[in-house]
Symmetry: C2
Subunit: 498 residues, 2 copies
């Protein structure tokens, strides 16, 4: 493909995406294909000869679009939102065009430096303590990771290495593997499955602690678990708390948990994947009370901050601990830029060595939307959720479960869980709305998350109408209402961390 063909193809692709997003309400949010549909349509082998881009654009319509679940539809209310914005798309295009691999400063100074700068912009925007910022004198700093999963894993690995080093100093006769075998980690039973997965990957057993009535992890529960572990010779190493759990957007009590972590000299990581973005609105900043006790913090720009996946901002109070944990001696570059504060060697802050120029999409998005625009988008989402909540609470057949202070409302039909289950099945089969269920304190609930490219009040009305329409088709008998605890549903299905 030569440059002129690219100019044409590029224009066609830009128009395709603009048309797609402008007309997204015309499509059912869920696709109607069967598994294996695509292999029936596409050839078995790579084509020998080059094909024209126009054929590909036709095939996008014929083969790809029918198999898309439309995350940008305002009728997508499953999981949490996956951010999408026009400027961010351009950022991806430009980053792909430069194709620089910014594993150190020298490999493309702009790549490292723009990341340093935009992470500081974001840290200030969220009101993080300045110890976390790159511009602060200390060893803290911010970095872009691919996902919250990776941030949590990195925090756990750094905590593991810190503990191993510390114990080796205190008890030099004990082997590293003996120490590793005694480490233990903590999180709540409401935290995202990625936390548990990080425990598996880092080979640290992780305790899923019970939460209070608001689904929050509290200090006393953690303390009790730690004491039990100490009694059997374990070494409490790290606790991962959630700000905005996937199930019900609950908030662990950072102040209480933080003090316990401090008492036992443990690493505290805060996973604010979804809710963290709301910190840019001063009225929500109270949710991070106690953050000064944390060692690391992450939130996803690719959820609520208009930068498309993958873009997870992570800050650490002491980046040296990451470098110590991940640095392989022989990869030291011998250039004289190494270690300088304005030019961190980001490859030592992450799992892979290579890295895309992701700061470009962050920079372009933040500038074209502005602080004002981001705050207003988040407040708009929250107001839509609150509007939906009023619709639900105005109908006696339904109940709202949990606090729903952000963009997620968990609701159910009063009575046996089977009614709610049937209702969700009916809704999903019609493919006009996409929601998923979870269980909160033994009750099956439907999660209604505000998602999509540009959700409006009329979309919420549409959703409520569709829910009521489907309710007519199930055999819901309010007289049978018994507020008993449901049988245990086989698992949470909402714990995917995106």
């Amino acid at each position: 493909m030569n440059a002129n063909e690219f100019r044409e193809f590029g224009r066609a692709a830009v128009d395709f995406m603009a048309d797609y997003l402008e007309n997204i309400r015309d499509r059912e949010v869920l696709p109607s294909v069967h598994t294996g549909y695509l292999s029936e349509l596409l050839p078995d082998e790579i084509p020998e000869k080059a094909e024209d881009w126009r054929e590909i654009m036709q095939d996008m319509h014929k083969f790809i679009l029918p198999g898309i679940t439309h995350w940008q539809s305002p009728n997508f209310h499953a999981y949490f939102m996956s951010a999408c914005s026009y400027p961010s798309m351009i950022g991806e295009l430009l980053s792909a065009g430069f194709s620089v691999i910014g594993f150190n400063w020298w490999a493309s100074p702009a790549c490292t430096e723009l990341e340093v700068i935009t992470m500081d912009w974001l840290g200030k925007f969220l009101g993080l303590p300045e110890e976390f910022l790159n511009c602060h004198d200390g060893p803290g700093g911010g970095v872009i990771q691919g996902s919250a999963s990776e941030s949590v894993l990195i925090a756990m690995l750094a905590a593991r290495e810190q503990m191993v080093r510390r114990m080796r100093e205190e008890q030099p006769h004990v082997s590293e593997s003996d120490i590793r075998g005694r480490l233990v980690a903590y999180t709540s039973d409401q935290s995202n499955s990625c936390v548990e997965k990080s425990g598996i990957l880092s080979a640290i057993p992780i305790r899923l602690l019970t939460t209070d009535a608001k689904c929050a992890l509290r200090g006393d529960i953690l303390k009790e678990a730690i004491e039990k572990d100490l009694e059997i010779g374990k070494m409490p190493t790290v606790c991962v708390v959630s700000l905005g759990t996937t199930g019900s957007c609950a908030f662990d009590n950072i102040e209480e948990v933080g003090k316990v972590c401090q008492e036992y000299n443990m690493w505290l990581h805060i996973d604010a994947a979804y809710a963290g973005a709301a910190l840019c609105c001063p009225e929500y900043r109270h949710i991070i009370n106690g953050i000064e006790l944390a060692d690391s913090f992450n939130f996803n720009l690719h959820k609520w901050m208009m930068v498309n996946f993958d873009c997870c901002a992570m800050w650490v109070k002491n980046a040296d601990l990451l470098v110590e944990a991940f640095n392989v001696e022989r990869i030291y570059l011998q250039n004289h830029f190494q270690g300088q504060q304005k030019a961190p060697d980001y490859r030592h802050w992450q799992i892979p060595l290579g890295r895309r120029f992701r700061a470009l999409k962050v920079w372009i998005t933040l500038r074209t939307v502005g602080a004002e625009g981001i705050r207003s988008k988040i407040r708009h989402h929250i107001s839509l959720a609150q509007y939906f909540k009023t619709l639900v609470t105005s109908d006696d057949r339904f109940e709202v479960i949990g606090e729903s202070i952000f963009g997620l409302v968990c609701f159910r039909l009063r009575g046996e869980c089977s009614f709610t289950k049937k209702l969700l099945k009916q809704i999903t089969e019609r493919k006009k709305l996409f929601m998923i269920h979870t269980t909160i304190h033994g009750k099956l609930v439907i999660r209604f998350a505000i998602c999509g490219y540009d959700p409006q009040l009329t979309d919420i009305d549409f959703a409520w109408k569709e829910i009521l329409y489907c309710l007519k088709d199930i055999d819901y008998n309010p007289s049978e209402v018994q507020d008993k605890v449901c049988e245990k549903f086989s698992s949470m299905i909402v714990s995917e961390r995106i």
Copy 2:
């Protein structure tokens, strides 16, 4: 930004990239900025108000371009190439536009299915054994990972869990942590630093074994190391071999090493990050003799196959072992698509749960270039390297070190290493060529890798001329030539895995 502004911005960005790549020879390959240059130019905080995209495009010229190391310049000969192609850029744009997170089939069927299909296209294109393909009846399959670093880490983690399970069955009285403490891994001292890093992250000590005269790992060396470890009670678990090492593009002996792995029931992973792409040319397929003995294999499309970073294809012979190692029970989805062969739950094949629609850029690139086009690109690169080799060998002052059968030539000035070091310093300071050094068997050599968007024969002539020009400026005295081994240079600087 509304759709119409996006259409304009998109066109401007497409034209920007086309102009950039068409005129890339006008720029010095290395930037002339100092560390911290960008923080002197950009504001300290996110702008409050939205800014016009035209300002951003101006700032791309003013602030970003001066800080770019031009990986797409034909005068970039450092590391290995970072792929860039017009169709791949469009793929990134479209993928960002859909913003689907394909963690399972239901989350966007096209995302999973196109990956299944294109990974099969690639597996066949490279001539991999059919056990590795998704379309084969067995439990094998291919998946897109972000980087070779991640593929190697995943292979090591899967091997670790397999060994722990196996030992737990054989010796149920031994604890998991005791088993983990005895595991050991192997690779060559020439393998990429990401292999060593994977050892650190997975907490498996990794032996860096010495290589033969051709920098290849041989079976007898591995066997000797394993026997030593068995004697001290270790459990040999996994061996990572390299096809095309970063230092000198050397090839480990898969047949020999594979037989040893089979004998000791160990996992064999093949990291073919750079050289793997050349398997699409039948004349190079002999380098994977013995691949039937491997458990997993990876190569980077983002090096030699025109798909931009991040895009590493990984195949495993038994994907169940990944799922067993990475699956967190509670994230099981209760949909009826789970586990079906045409719709693998790819989130269990990788570290994060979220995943981009990367198959789109693969599909678009492979189709618009065609099998023919890819083979021809790879052969062209190899021919340019061979041409450079003839230039070097025709000058008595220089010598070529190693075989240089692909797109990398390692060369040096005869005599003391300090000459070569001085020469490279001189060249780098002029910023017209970017090469890096490594050491091969104690000798400092300069790596000349064919990279860039569209390198031509004239670019190689330019490079050679520049090298000779710089040679005049250093005090090279051929009479001092002594072919002694250099002092050990402090480290390999080329081991970044990109």
